[in-house]
Amino acid sequence: MKAKKVVKDQKTNKKEKTENMTIKAPFELEKLSNDEYILNMGPQHPSTHGVLRIILKLDGEVVKDLYADVGYIHSSVEKMCENKKYEMIMPYTDRLDYLSAVNYNWAYALAVEKLMGITIPERAEYIRVMLAELNRIMSHLLWYSAYGMDVGALTPIMYAFREREEVIDMIEGMTGGRLTHNAFRFGGFKNDLQKGFMDSLKKFIGHFNDKIDEYEALLINNVILTARTKGVGILSKETAMSYGVTGPSLRGSDCAIDLRKTAPYSIYDKFDFKVCTGKNGDTWDRLKVRMDEMRESTKILKQAMEGIPAGDIMAKVPKIIKPAPGEVYTKVESARGEFGVYIISDGTDKPYRIKFRSPSFSNLSVLKEIAIGSKIADVVAIMGSLDLVIPEIDR
């Protein structure tokens, strides 16, 4: 008798809980007109690139309203980091954005180095730039292939992965990891560049620009794609700024903000490169910006390869990382936009609070603004052009 009651209690509790937990969509199901229906895109959908759920209110194929439901793979990285020593957090920053891990490492390393006042040897800075640019290329290549899949072209992925493999091999030779590199240490690097890195880099730079031309001929300039993307998902400069959109998605809207240029960290002020921008802010401009950015990255790589000095790769860093109390915010231009790390240190070997400012979250928030009124296929195309990485949204 008693047991039964308990079971009943649990049941009612559960019901209450689920009722509380149901996410209220911004549009009510009852308010649908006769022509409209709700379509759940995700959490498991081929083109959400992970566990993202987008609830679409559709009229036929036209999107009337949408709601991005995030948090399916929330892993509470920020909270976890409060219980880790500073050195241990480095591999976790890899896992925020597994496609351009080096840039995320860099933002975190910069933050701690700033807190501790460490200056990095010049050679290490050069290596950092090289790894970060290779990583940017790697990330953009994956975006290109995934975008091809999104719009239904199945061949680009094979071509882009051929070059991506070269890049990954280079970074793997340097750091040991293929995707989650855990490349940086406070003060520089543990290991110098591997033998043969420069040769493979030279070879890569030599033929990469031709490959980009090939990619553009295959997909970006294709008339079917240009028809699908030009004039679709127009993101005005003002909207982009007000939503905090950064990275190539912002630069597509004719806004030349690139942290490497506007707030140069490390040694980026030494390099000569262009900030690529689009004109109209439509989907196609965002694609083109990414393609151009790969070319610019190659330029930076070339300059870095020529200018790299010999010398130390590690600064003098105390064995136990214990930054003085204080707070710091550093930001880098990752492949997706501005990635910022905010740390409050209380003088112990663990951060008191850590906050990651992830670009994909802000970039996703603008989706509602630009995708309403387009078709289902456009939602996919627009989402692809924002280049989202889901673990980074959910953190």
């Binding site: 241990m88 793997e172 030779g173 295959l218 300039n221 008339v223």
Partner: protein, 162 residues
């Protein structure tokens, strides 16, 4: 009307360009590796699973059970038990070294913290298993023999430290 025709011609040209790219690739050699037979050339610093290799000079592992790696590990994947001698005092020797491959994130921090080069990330990447229990390994009892190009790198590491 002129725009209509120009659009068609422009479209056809762009489509032809795309077709030419794929046609060119028909005559290129496949780049894929036939995996189980052909294996990739793995780089020296590749981070496979953690091993505690047997030192060929002493035919024993180099671990002194100093617990540095355990403190360096971000998610407690390693555990180590120190040898207690007959006199009741701890000896610089590990009795067991438990490594949980399931939670390991292959970050290399333990290897870097090790002052004696007792542990190293091997080039074993096929670590999948059907049995969860087999993910927990005792590296001391395993007596792993390091092979391949990592050996020279590993030995060079501990010669400079000694």
């Amino acid at each position: 009307m002129i725009k209509y025709i120009a659009d068609i011609i422009k479209g056809i040209i762009s489509l032809m360009e795309g077709l030419m790219v794929t046609l060119k690739h028909v005559f290129r050699k496949p780049i894929t590796l036939q995996y189980p037979e052909q294996r990739p050339d793995i780089s020296l610093r590749f981070r496979g699973r953690l091993v505690m290799p047997v030192d060929p000079a002493t035919t024993n592992n180099r671990c002194t059970a100093c617990m540095l790696c355990i403190r360096a590990c971000p998610n407690h994947s390693i555990d180590c038990e120190k040898l207690i001698g007959e006199d009741g005092k701890p000896k610089p020797k590990a009795v067991s070294y438990t490594y949980n491959m399931g939670s390991c994130i292959y970050c290399n921090l333990c290897v870097e913290s090790c002052a004696f080069a007792a542990i190293i990330m091997s080039d074993e990447y096929e670590t999948g298993t059907e049995n969860k229990a087999s993910l927990t390994l005792d590296l001391v009892a395993e007596k792993y023999e390091l092979k391949g190009k990592k050996v020279a790198w590993w030995t060079s590491k501990f010669k400079t430290e000694e």
